[in-house]
Amino acid sequence: MDLLVNQVLAGIATGAIYACMALAIVMIFQAIDHLNFAQGEMAMFSTFIAWQLMQWGVPYWWAFILTLIISFAAGVIIERVLFKPLAKAPVLTNVAGFIALFAIINSVAGLIWDFTIKQFPTPFGSSPFMGSQLISTHQAGMIGVTLVLLILLFLFFRFTRIGLAMRAAATLPESARLVGINTGWMIALGWGMATAIGAIAGILIAPVVFLEPNMMGGVLLYGFAAAVLGGLSSPLGAVIGGFLVGIFENLVGTYIPGVGNELKLPIALALIVIVLVVKPTGLMGRTVVKRV
C-alpha cells in the first residue's frame, strides 16, 4: 500500500511538470492553432539561462524571477519576429518554422553550454517531506509551485481585463478585433506566458533529469501526451491531463514488469496514439466543427 501511495505521489510530482508543459503547449495552440514543437527546447534554453545566472552568483529565487522575465521577453520576440509573418501561411510552413526553431535552439545551447550533463540545484532540498518517507521536499516543492502557478493563471484569466481580452482573442479573433482588442499582441502575450511557464517546468525538472541540451525530449513528449489527453483546447484539461499522465507513467513503471525507464518514450507514444484514436478531443476539449 505504501508503495502505491508513494508512486502516486511521485507521479503527481512529475505530473506537475507535464502539466506545466501541457499548459504552455495549449496556450500557444489556442492562440495560433499550431503545436509548438520547439516548446521543450525553449524551456531547456530558459533553464540554461537560470543555471548561467546562478553560476554568476545570482541567488536562486532572483535567478528564477530573472529567467522568467527573460523567457517572457524572448517568447514575445520570437512570436513578433519569426511567427507573426507566418500567421496566414499554410500549416506546413508553420510546422517547418517550429522544426527550424527546435534545431536552432538545440544546437545553439550545445554550442554555448556543451553537451555534458550538469547538476542543477533545488531550493527545496531532497530530504523527506515533513518527516514522511513518501515524498521528498523537492517533489513537494514541484507540486506546490505548480499549484501556485495554476491559481495565479486562473485568477489572471478570470478576473483581469487583459486575461479576458486574451480569452476573447483566442476563441473568436474576428469579433475580438471588432470590439477593439489588439489580437496580434494578445497572441504575442500568449507566447510570452507560454515560454515563461515552460521555463518554470524546465527549472523544476532540471534537478531530476539533469541539465543538458536534450533533457526536454521526453518531458515534451509527455507534455504533448498530457495536452492531448486533456484536450488541446482546454487549459484546465491540460493540467488534469498532466497529473494523470504523471501518475499513469509511474504506476505502469512500477507494476508492469519489464517496463522501466527504457520504455518511457514508447509509453508516451502509445498514450498519444490511443487518445487520438479513442477520443481525439481529449477529456475536456471542444469538438471542432468544420464548415463545409
Partner: protein, 340 residues
C-alpha cells in the same frame, strides 16, 4: 452558441500550398542530362565522394517518399526517421543474421515498412494535419528507445547496433565496392522515381492530390479519403524503408542513435528546400542535407543544427517553393533568351 463560435473561429488554411500548374516531373531533355551526369560523375571522383553521392541518392529517395506524402496527399510526417530506421534494421538483420542476399532485403524492408506505415497511419489518419504531425513526432522521438529495448537485443544488438558487410561487385566486375553500390543505388532510385511519377499521374495520384487541395470536395466526388490517405502513408513509409535499407548497406552500420529526431528534421528540411510536391527537387533537397552539414561543421562543431534551422527559416520566408521556384525561374529565363 458554441456551434457558431467554432465554425467561425476555425477558418481552415490549406495544409500545403498547391503547386502551380507545372508537371511534377522534369522535361525529357533535362531528365536525360541529369541521368547522364549521374552516370558519368562517379568515374572521375575519389571513393569517398562516391560514397557521398550514394548517400545523396539514398536521402533523395527518402525525401522523395516524404514528398509523395506531403506534396501528393497533403499530410505531414515528422516520423520519417522511424521508417528509415525500421528499413535499415530490417536489412541489417536479414543480411547479418538471416544471411539473405542484400538485393532481396530491399523489397522486404519496403514491404515491412509499408505494413508498419499502413498500420500506424490507419489510426493516425482520422486526424487532421497537426495531430498527424504530433503522432509522427512522437514516433520519431520514441524510435531510438524502441530499438534499444532489451527484448530485441539478440537481433538488434541493443545500444551497440549491428555491423553490415559491404557487398562486392557481382560477376567479377572490375569496379570498387563503393562504385558498385553507387550504381546499384542509382538503379533503385531511378525505378522508385519513375514509379512515383507514374503513381502521381495515375488515378490514385489524382485522388491524393484532390484530397490535398480540398478534402471535402474530394470526398463529395467519391474519393475514399481514409483509404487514399492511408495508402499514401504506407507507400511513403515503404519507400523510406527501402532508402533506410540502402543506407544501412552503404554505411555498413546500424545503431539506434543514428536514427534520432535529427534525421527526421533533415528529411523534412530536404523536402522543403527541394520544393514541396516537386519530385526532382528531392535530389536538390538531398544534396542540401548531405553537403551542408559538412560545411557547417567545418565552421564550428555542433553548428549544423543551427545552420539547418536558419536556412529553413530563410527558405520558408524567401523561397517558399524551394528549388522548384529556382527551376521555374531558370526555365522562363531560357524561354526569354530563345525568343530574343
Amino acid at each position: 452558441m458554441s456551434t457558431i463560435q467554432e465554425t467561425v473561429a476555425k477558418t481552415d488554411a490549406a495544409a500545403v500550398d498547391a503547386p502551380p500548374k507545372k508537371s511534377m516531373a522534369l522535361g525529357r531533355t533535362t531528365s536525360l542530362v541529369m541521368l547522364v551526369a549521374l552516370l558519368i560523375v562517379p568515374l572521375f571522383v575519389k571513393n569517398f565522394v562516391i560514397f557521398q553521392l550514394t548517400m545523396l541518392l539514398i536521402y533523395g529517395i527518402a525525401v522523395l517518399a516524404l514528398n509523395i506524402l506531403t506534396g501528393g496527399s497533403g499530410q505531414f510526417s515528422l516520423g520519417q526517421s522511424a521508417f528509415y530506421a525500421i528499413g535499415a534494421y530490417a536489412a541489417a538483420i536479414l543480411i547479418e543474421i538471416g544471411n539473405v542476399n542484400y538485393v532481396l532485403t530491399l523489397p522486404i524492408a519496403g514491404i515491412i515498412c509499408f505494413a508498419v506505415g499502413f498500420l500506424f497511419g490507419f489510426p493516425a489518419l482520422r486526424l487532421s494535419g497537426v495531430y498527424l504531425a504530433l503522432a509522427t513526432f512522437a514516433l520519431a522521438v520514441a524510435m531510438p528507445q524502441l530499438l534499444k529495448l532489451g527484448v530485441f537485443e539478440p537481433w538488434t544488438g541493443g545500444v551497440q547496433g549491428l555491423v553490415v558487410t559491404k557487398p562486392d561487385a557481382p560477376f567479377g566486375l572490375p569496379i570498387s565496392q563503393d562504385m558498385w553500390l553507387y550504381y546499384f543505388t542509382l538503379v533503385v532510385a531511378l525505378v522508385i522515381y519513375i514509379a512515383s511519377v507514374n503513381l502521381l499521374r495515375s488515378r490514385s495520384g489524382r485522388a491524393m492530390m484532390a484530397i490535398r487541395d480540398n478534402e471535402i470536395a474530394a470526398s463529395a466526388m467519391g474519393v475514399d479519403i481514409s483509404m487514399y490517405k492511408t495508402l499514401a502513408f504506407g507507400v511513403s513509409a515503404g519507400i523510406t524503408g527501402v532508402a533506410g535499407a540502402l543506407g544501412a548497406i552503404a554505411v555498413q552500420f546500424v545503431a539506434p542513435d543514428s536514427y534520432t529526431f535529427q534525421l527526421a528534421i533533415a528529411l523534412f528540411l530536404g523536402m522543403v528546400v527541394g520544393g514541396v510536391g516537386w519530385l526532382p527537387g528531392s535530389l536538390a533537397g538531398a544534396a542540401f542535407i548531405v553537403f551542408v552539414p559538412n560545411i557547417a561543421e567545418g565552421i564550428s562543431k555542433g553548428l549544423s543544427g543551427a545552420f539547418f534551422g536558419v536556412l529553413l527559416f530563410l527558405v520558408i520566408y524567401l523561397v517558399p517553393h524551394g528549388a522548384r521556384q529556382g527551376a521555374i525561374y531558370a526555365e522562363t529565363l531560357l524561354h526569354k533568351l530563345r525568343r530574343s
